[in-house]
Every structure is written in structure tokens, then in C-alpha cells.
């Protein structure tokens, strides 16, 4: 939730709702982008993602949940085929 004025804030530092409504994806500077032509479906990225924000689609390839991915880049670093690249995000 983004507040524009001090008057919009709650009086105490409470988090309204849970992480179901409070996304952490906006912390990200670089976003991981998966190139399926290089992906060998080894799922190492899926194992290493600390969030976890990588999920396996029905076709067996991996995808990133950008609502929660904080852009740490561990997936791109671990990928043995360099199928994941970190791309600077324009906001």
C-alpha cells in the first residue's frame, strides 16, 4: 500500500491485511526473465529461490511470480544453462 500523505497512514505501524494483499515485488530493481529455449527443466532455480517466487507451469517450464519476487538474482546465478537473465526494471 502506498500512502501519499501522512494523514493517510494508520496511527500505529500496523500492516493492514497479510502478504496476500501486501506484495513484496515492488522492492525489486532487476527482474529475472526466463528464456524457455535454453531452459532444460532441471528446477535448480525453483529449489534455490528463497521467497519462493518461482513456480512450475503445467507445461513443465518455470515462471516467476512477480508479485513476490524481490529480484535477488539467485535463480539467474544458479541456472546451469544461463536461461535466466536479470533485466533492469523501468518503473
Amino acid at each position: 500500500m502506498v500512502f501519499k500523505s501522512v494523514n493517510e497512514y494508520p496511527e500505529a505501524p500496523i500492516t493492514l491485511g497479510t502478504t496476500l494483499s501486501n506484495f513484496t515485488g515492488d522492492w525489486r530493481t532487476f527482474m529475472p526473465v526466463v528464456d524457455e529455449s535454453k531452459c532444460v527443466r532441471c528446477y535448480i532455480c525453483w529449489k534455490f529461490c528463497p521467497e519462493p517466487a518461482i513456480y512450475i507451469k503445467e507445461d513443465g517450464y518455470v515462471a516467476v511470480d512477480y508479485d513476490y519476487c524481490k529480484g535477488c538474482g539467485i535463480c539467474a546465478n544458479e541456472c546451469p544453462t544461463k536461461a535466466i537473465s536479470m533485466v533492469r526494471e523501468e518503473k
Binding site: F3, V6, Y9, E11, A12, P13, I14, L16, G17, T18
Partner: protein, 393 residues
């Protein structure tokens, strides 16, 4: 109105009972222990209903348990002294930051080393920037009244900040005096049940308290606390006036003035030593000295408007600090000078460091200080800004 002869600590315990506190989490430390022992006794004797006592393994945990209890909407209370208060330090920021109206009695005790159990204000004043309000009691009655008012002020919808009621080691904590205690029904009218800002037991609308505040949000929450402290000044005066109307003891002034109307020299200080100062003021007046006393009841929020009104009409202020900030000066002196800098009030101000670690400040000491101040004013020149008054030279 029923009267009891009680120690300062028992006055605090009775006030907590009469305020109908719901959770007490505490750890023993001299000279505070008899407060929480008395509360445990109330429970053992079946004198209180709906009071949960949480024995914990440290003061840090005591405050943590009070924070948890207060976040569910309960009225929470604890007490500590010196090293125990220092161990709570991290949690004190937490209580204020989460906007929880916890009330704690701190029995002023000197910080070690060397080990001491005697009176000294440096323990509580070292917690100055935690976001807690601080009230310094002069006598046992003020300990009792202070705790009752503290809950009403802390829980006020415009405040929601914790309060520390501060009393002197042994001089008040273990010394017996007559204390007026209103009937329970009268207190219940003055202090209705708490209406919390939030309750963690709202299971239909789950939320978390004190989660991450990024640089985009942290700043605004600090501003809210600063604003609540400013509001607290008005609330303190309102509640102090209401207390006076109901129970006959008025606390609408954050600085209590004693014979200051035509005073040239005013003694300023906090806590039990101001009782001695008032006695000395009476004696000095009978000897022809135009002196008065200004007892700073509330150190946070600091009553700077009241101090200015006083300072613009006097020639000299002797600030008596039973505390010291190493590398600078007495803490109240430092605050008071700072308040007056951007004003046109320019009395001569001198800092007397007195009573550290329970060293007695007597009526004769105060009279000697008055004579020193009179000389300074006549010469219009400070001999020294900070004087270690009792020092064996």
C-alpha cells in the same frame, strides 16, 4: 476519602490495583521489588479479579510480555529500577513505537558501577528518547495519583504512548506516609476501561504490528509519535485538572510553582528532593530571601511553554540535577537552557549536581545554594556553570 499509611512502593501497587490492571509482567530488583510483591499478594489473597501475573526471567522479557498483553487490548503494568530499566531499553522503544499505553513505575536507583541501590535519576533520564512520557513524583501521594493519571493520559485516543512514573529509591519507595485513596467507584468513573487503538485478537481482520517500515514509510510513523507527544501536553493538563476536580489534588501544571510570584531566584528540579527545597524556600523567605521553587513534574513531554513563562520573570534559576550526562552537564539543566535559547528570557542559570547515588541534599545545602546564587546575581557573573556541590575537596 479512605487514607492509608503506605510506602511509595505500596502506593504504586494500590494504584495499579485500583486502576484495574489486567496484566502485570515483572522481574524483581531492589528497590522496586515490594511493588510487584504487593501485587502478587493482592492476587494470592483474592483481592483482585481478572489480573494475570506473568513471572518472567528478565526485565527485557517483562516489557516484552507487557507489549504483547497491551497489543491485545489489555491494561498492562510493570515496575523496575536502574540496571533492570537499562536491560529493558530495546523494548521501551518497542512499546512507544507500537503505540501501546503501558504504565511502568521506575524507582530511581543509581547505575553501577560502583554498585548502589540509592536514589539517582540517571537511570530514567537515560531513557529520554524512547518515546515514553516521564512523570517525577515528589511524595507517596504523587506516586499513587501519578499511576492513576498515567493510564488515563496514556490511553487517551490522541496519545496512545507509554508512561513512566518515577519515584525515589528509599526516600519514597520504602518510607511510609499518609496517602489518600479514593473509593473504587470514584476511580472507575475517572478511569473507564481501555479503548485500544487496535487489538491483535481481532481474528476476523488479521494484521501484524511493527512489520518492516521502509525508508518510504518509517519517517511518517516517527512524525506521528512526535505529534502524539505534543497532544499529550494538552491531555496531561486536562486530566490533571479533572483529577483535581474529582479528588482535590490539581495536576494541571506540568511545572508546579511554589512561591515564585515575586521570586528573584528559583530552584528547579524533579522528584523527592523538591520537598526539601520547598522546606528551604519557606525558611529562606522568613530570612528575607525572595526565592521560590519550580518542580518539573513532567520531563517528557517537556513543558517548555511553562518554563518560558517562569524564566522571563526571574533573575536566576538554580537547576538541581540528581543526575549527570558525562561529557556535558546535568540533564535537566541542559534541557532547560535549550528551551530558552530562542526566546527573550535570559535569567542567569547555574547547574548544581546534587544527591548522586543517594547523597543527602539537606535544607542547609539548599540555603547555601541560595546564598551562592544571590552573590552571582549581585555580581552579574557566573563563578562556574556546573558545580559538583557536595564534592569533598
Amino acid at each position: 476519602m479512605p487514607k492509608k499509611v503506605v510506602s511509595g512502593n505500596y502506593a504504586a501497587a494500590y494504584a495499579a490495583k485500583h486502576a484495574r490492571v489486567e496484566v502485570v509482567a515483572a522481574y524483581p530488583i531492589t528497590p522496586q521489588t515490594s511493588i510487584i510483591e504487593k501485587i502478587a499478594e493482592f492476587i494470592a489473597n483474592g483481592e483482585v479479579e481478572n489480573l494475570q501475573y506473568v513471572p518472567v526471567e528478565s526485565e527485557h522479557s517483562a516489557m516484552a510480555a507487557c507489549i504483547g498483553a497491551s497489543a491485545t487490548g489489555a491494561r498492562a503494568f510493570t515496575a523496575t529500577s536502574a540496571q533492570g530499566l537499562a536491560l529493558m531499553h530495546e523494548m521501551l522503544h518497542w512499546a512507544a513505537g507500537a503505540r501501546l499505553p503501558i504504565v511502568m513505575v521506575d524507582v530511581n536507583r543509581a547505575m553501577a558501577p560502583p554498585w548502589s541501590v540509592w536514589d539517582d535519576q540517571t537511570d530514567s533520564l537515560a531513557q529520554r528518547d524512547t518515546g515514553w512520557m516521564q512523570f517525577y513524583a515528589e511524595n507517596n501521594q504523587e506516586v499513587y495519583d501519578g499511576v492513576l493519571m498515567a493510564f488515563k493520559i496514556a490511553e487517551h485516543e490522541k496519545v496512545n504512548l507509554p508512561v513512566m512514573i518515577v519515584e525515589s529509591a528509599f526516600i519514597l519507595s520504602h518510607t511510609y506516609d499518609v496517602v489518600d485513596m479514593p473509593e473504587q467507584e470514584e476511580i472507575d468513573e475517572f478511569l473507564p476501561p481501555r479503548k485500544p487503538l487496535y487489538t491483535l485478537t481481532d481474528f476476523e481482520n488479521p494484521f501484524s504490528v511493527g512489520a518492516l517500515g521502509t525508508p518510504a514509510d518509517y519517517y511518517e510513523f516517527r512524525y506521528k509519535i512526535a505529534g502524539a507527544m505534543e497532544e499529550a501536553k494538552k491531555v496531561i493538563k486536562e486530566v490533571g485538572r479533572e483529577f483535581g476536580e474529582r479528588f482535590g489534588r490539581d495536576y494541571s501544571q506540568m511545572i508546579e510553582l511554589y512561591r515564585t510570584d515575586d521570586a528573584e531566584i528559583v530552584f528547579m528540579g524533579m522528584g523527592s528532593l523538591m520537598g526539601t527545597v520547598k522546606e528551604a524556600v519557606d525558611m529562606l523567605r522568613s530570612e528575607g530571601y525572595k526565592v521560590g521553587a519550580a518542580k518539573v513534574r513532567w520531563f517528557r513531554p517537556f513543558p517548555k511553554e511553562e518554563l518560558y513563562e517562569l524564566a522571563k520573570n526571574v533573575e536566576g534559576i538554580a537547576v538541581l540535577d540528581r543526575n549527570f550526562s558525562f561529557g556535558q552537564e546535568g540533564i535537566l539543566f541542559n534541557e532547560a537552557k535549550g528551551v530558552l535559547y530562542n526566546t527573550d528570557a535570559r535569567p542567569i542559570m547555574k547547574n548544581y549536581i546534587v544527591g548522586l547515588g543517594g547523597r543527602d541534599l539537606t535544607v542547609n545545602d539548599v540555603k547555601a545554594i541560595a546564598k551562592n546564587m544571590k552573590e552571582i546575581i549581585e555580581k552579574d557573573e557566573l563563578d562556574r556553570e556546573v558545580e559538583w556541590y557536595h564534592l569533598k575537596r
